[in-house]
Symmetry: C2
Subunit: 219 residues, 2 copies
């Protein structure tokens, strides 16, 4: 991964990183990407699930997807993955902030046509979103593969931004009688909701019961 004017840090450089391990860890902790692309000068931002392998992000959707058609020809794209970790509540309005981990990646995508590579990429996405699921379910039929477009987005450049910790107030404001601190936020799971037509006696498997959103802040 390279760095250029697209990923230079203009402000607060201490929050920024080009370290591949940091970038990969954030991408692996998320499963929802916001993909930006341009059609005749108009920017579009579309949310989509993804999987990561090395510096490749796999995206998938209907073979009729407008986003995938726009991207598959190698148009410039930007992928953002952001995890919210908490609201930073300061003593002054000005110093309020958010704790987060975010990656902005630039690159281009190519469509994967080969059925074997396509299936493998779909497996990467599936395991990225919920590990253990792929082996438990019916694999794609050929006609389902044909109805699915799978793209490999190759990261050319990326940067990470991370904010952690409490508020940083003006020195004179510490005397104010205002509660300040962090309100942690994280994506958590509720109890699994069985499908109405579930076979009698079927219990949620370990990969569902043990699922922990990877976006939970690291201890």
């Amino acid at each position: 991964m390279q760095s250029s004017v697209r990923t230079e840090f203009h402000r607060l450089p201490k929050r920024g990183s080009h370290d591949p391990a940091t970038i990969h860890a954030i991408l692996d902790a998320g499963f929802l990407a916001h993909v930006g692309f341009v059609v005749e000068g108009q920017p579009f931002v579309i949310p989509t699930l993804f999987g990561r392998e090395g510096d490749s992000l796999y995206l998938h959707g209907s073979a009729a997807s407008r986003m995938l058609h726009q991207l598959e020809g190698g148009a410039p794209a930007c992928v953002n993955v952001t995890l919210v970790d908490g609201l930073v509540l300061a003593r002054s309005a000005f110093h309020h902030s958010m704790n987060y981990r975010s990656v902005m990646a630039f690159g281009t995508a190519r469509i994967i046509e080969d059925p074997e590579r396509k299936t493998r990429a779909l497996r990467v996405i599936s395991e990225h979103v919920i590990a253990g699921r792929w082996e438990a379910v019916r694999a794609p039929y050929e006609k389902e593969l044909k109805a699915t477009a799978v793209l490999e987005f190759t990261i050319e450049e990326a940067s990470a931004k991370v904010r952690t910790g409490g508020p940083l107030d003006d020195e004179e404001d510490y005397a104010l009688p205002v509660w300040a601190g962090v309100l942690p936020l994280r994506l958590t799971t509720g109890a699994p909701v069985p499908d109405a037509r579930l076979a009698a006696g079927a219990e949620p498997p370990e990969h569902v019961l043990q699922y922990r959103s990877a976006s939970e802040p690291r201890p």
Copy 2:
């Protein structure tokens, strides 16, 4: 709000809506927007907090922010707000999905120069993110207002997409011995973490203790 080729639904139109009430409800349930814009043909996607008032979204940041400088001149922008409600686990890999609420809004932004309007917009953002906070903290100084850029993004067109409910499997797959259903996901708060320099005896106020992420799925 209008509808055009930018916001037409190409697939699964039953998931889509141009209803302003639906769009506003999703925007109000979120606090993080992904803003897309174009610089010399290159798309950028940047996450940012926002507040809503009517068909205006207020964005703010450092007066030195690259994103805000790009947008303030009225360049075409796309704002996406997406809330994740659950993983939809089907009996086949192909029918896996996600429950979500998402708004894609197109429009342009203008910088707010007037200090009174600027302060009011900052208050809208603050109350959107955590209601009750603004009154509890020190208001912005003039120099802080000057160091902050506030933009009003006017929604020209928007569309909402919502998926709810369980998996929709192929009829012959319902006999498979696979657990299927929904794994609910939501953004939840942890216990407030007091700042290390908090005045002795200061307790978290109601607006912190009672905070519920608006992104929680409606009952």
